[in-house]
């Protein structure tokens, strides 16, 4: 298959497993005849930042569901914190795909954060001093003090996302699973949210699994990359995965990957036209045109 896959496996298999918090071994997931990924193998150590990339429908969110214990594998093995993943582990913080709260939603930022601590327990959430101080600390850690008591629905996407981070870290997790946390945020908020998640990683040694369409906002923090495309995958450092050769192999069309300063640009060169590879629709269009023998700018 892909050369770096083997290199990566060799690297992890030879090393010590003590620091590993996530380990997938030949993990395969199929729905009916559709194979989401085949023999996916990688591991994640304490304090590591892993970016999961790929087009829509490549199984990025499903990978998080597997780690959360909400989705069993078709075959292969997965271990989270040295055991099979189980639902509701308090050691995992989860930031779901952003869905803005309704403007009349009867919940304030503070309430959302508290749910991250004790929302799963039975009973009524009565005021408690220790819980309150944990909630306050989590809110402070994302700089949300000024709007934590306002209704969530009235806050901007960036503010809601900061509170989501506070909710996820309030339970003091060992692993942080983030599902496209930058989606529909403006560039300044994207930078702020990415750096907050990284700050948590640095401060507490939390391992981060970060699903994203776009590598650049998190590039300064990323240790390794899992790139999923249509059943194929590549694993390695950004330098190993973001090469023209590897990505051309993954997508099955000619791709140029280039590092420009602190960014990675991925484009297909086709009749002089450049386009963003992350856009699946355009990819399909391009390959369809290629098959029909069209040439020219897209």
């Amino acid at each position: 298959m892909l050369r770096n896959q083997r290199a990566w496996r060799a690297g992890t298999d030879g090393g010590l497993h003590g620091d590993e918090v996530v380990r997938l071994d030949n993990a395969t997931l199929s729905f009916g005849r559709h194979r989401l990924w085949d023999s996916l193998t990688f591991s994640l150590k304490k304090g590591e930042f892993l970016a999961v990339l790929g087009p829509n429908g490549a199984g990025k969110t499903t990978l998080l569901k597997v780690l959360l214990g909400l989705q069993p594998l078709s075959s292969g093995k997965v271990e989270v914190l040295n055991r099979a993943p189980r639902r509701g582990s308090s050691k995992i913080g989860y930031i779901p795909q952003q869905r803005k709260f309704d403007s009349q939603s009867p919940v304030r930022g503070r309430d959302l954060v508290r749910l991250g601590i004790d929302g799963h327990r039975p009973g009524v959430p009565l005021p408690a001093v220790t819980t309150r101080s944990r909630v306050d600390a989590a809110i402070r850690s994302v700089g949300a003090e000024t709007y934590a008591n306002a209704p969530l629905g009235k806050l901007s996407g960036g503010e809601q996302q900061r509170l989501r981070i506070a909710q996820a870290v309030a339970g003091d997790p060992a692993i942080l699973l983030c599902d496209e946390p930058l989606l529909s945020l403006d560039p300044a908020s994207q930078d702020a949210v990415a750096s907050l998640i990284d700050a948590r990683r640095v401060a507490a040694g939390t391992a981060v699994v970060f699903v994203t369409h776009e590598i650049n906002p998190v590039l300064p923090y990323v240790d390794s990359v899992v790139y999923l495309v249509d059943g194929q995958w590549a694993v390695g450092t950004p330098e190993q995965v973001f090469t023209s050769e590897r990505l051309s192999e993954l997508y099955g069309i000619p791709v140029v990957a280039a590092r420009l300063g602190d960014r990675i640009e991925v484009v297909t060169s086709h009749g002089g036209a450049l386009m963003d590879l992350m856009d699946e629709e355009k990819c399909r269009l391009l390959s369809a045109m290629e098959n029909e023998g069209h040439r020219g700018p897209v």
């Binding site: 959360l68 779901p96 795909q97």
Partner: protein, 283 residues
């Protein structure tokens, strides 16, 4: 003076107790009904409580017990048929129409059709017997215990479904438990305001409370308070004006409070937010 004397009467005391129990349970479940988008489900349940009540009356001369059975059957049907949100409304609509037709058929076999139908549809507060009062008490206590037990995870699953699932909150079990709780509450409320007007106690107070505050606990408290004012206030008003059914006053008060909340609620909420932000800055 007349009112005080009226409240000494056993039937009035029964009615007052019934109103209070029903108001507390309705006020408690209301915010969840709205959060989970289940207003129509509640309406469907109460319509089928009518069918159950008609059957209960015909078979055993006991309308409330029949109403409870009817509501529970609907809860089970919604739980199994209307699992997906997109299916739910249409399933409820179909069940509601079919069930209501059956109820009318059942009632046509019953002597004194007109009175029975009016009482079930619009409430029969002053006809609450001892045994019905005990049933209401049992229902009320069951509902309160159940909601208090599942309050936090139910709230989590209602406002933040994905994260709740990730934290191991069992949404499926909770949603079935909540449907059961709803069935009990609806049966109680039907006794006070009638099956047609259950929403005036199960939705209106919570809908108004949401306009006044954004704090979940404050909303729960306010919702109960508004339901109490509407139910007990409606009863007292009808003791003063005996020719008008209490239902009219109960629905009137809860509707009025809702209108007020739409008019002055936003201003109150804004003031709260500003005050809280000032407090944060001072801290």
């Amino acid at each position: 003076m007349g009112l005080f004397n009226n409240l000494q009467l056993p039937f009035a005391q029964h009615a007052l107790l019934a109103c209070t129990i029903v108001a507390v349970t309705c006020g408690l479940i209301g915010p969840f009904v709205i959060m989970r988008g289940m207003s129509f489900a509640v309406h469907g349940m109460s319509e089928l409580a009518f069918t159950g009540a008609a059957a209960g009356l015909l078979v055993a001369g006991n309308a409330p017990a029949g109403a409870l059975c009817g509501a529970l059957v609907v809860a089970l049907l919604i739980g199994t048929l209307g699992d997906r949100e997109s299916d739910r409304d249409s399933s409820i609509g179909v069940i509601l129409a079919g069930g209501l037709g059956l109820g009318v058929l059942l009632l046509s076999f019953y002597h004194g059709f007109a009175t029975a139908a009016t009482n079930i549809l619009f409430g029969d507060l002053f006809g609450v017997s001892n045994s019905q009062l005990i049933l209401l008490l049992v229902i009320g206590i069951t509902v309160i215990i159940a909601i208090v037990a599942i309050y936090r995870p139910l709230f989590f699953a209602s406002v933040d479904t994905e994260v709740a699932a990730a934290r191991g909150v069992p949404e499926r079990i909770l949603s079935i438990a909540f449907l059961m709780v709803l069935a009990f509450t609806v049966t109680g409320a039907a006794q006070v305001v009638g099956t047609l007007l259950v929403l005036s106690l199960a939705i209106a107070p919570a809908a108004a409370a949401r306009r006044f505050s954004s704090s979940p606990l404050a909303i729960a408290g306010l919702s109960i308070l508004i339901a109490l004012v509407a139910a007990d206030g409606g009863l007292i008003a009808s003791l003063q004006f005996p020719s008008i059914k209490p239902t009219v006053f109960v629905t009137g008060i809860s509707f009025f409070v809702y209108i007020v909340s739409r008019i002055i609620g936003p201003a109150i909420k804004n003031r709260q937010n500003r005050a809280l932000q000032l407090e944060e800055v001072v801290n």
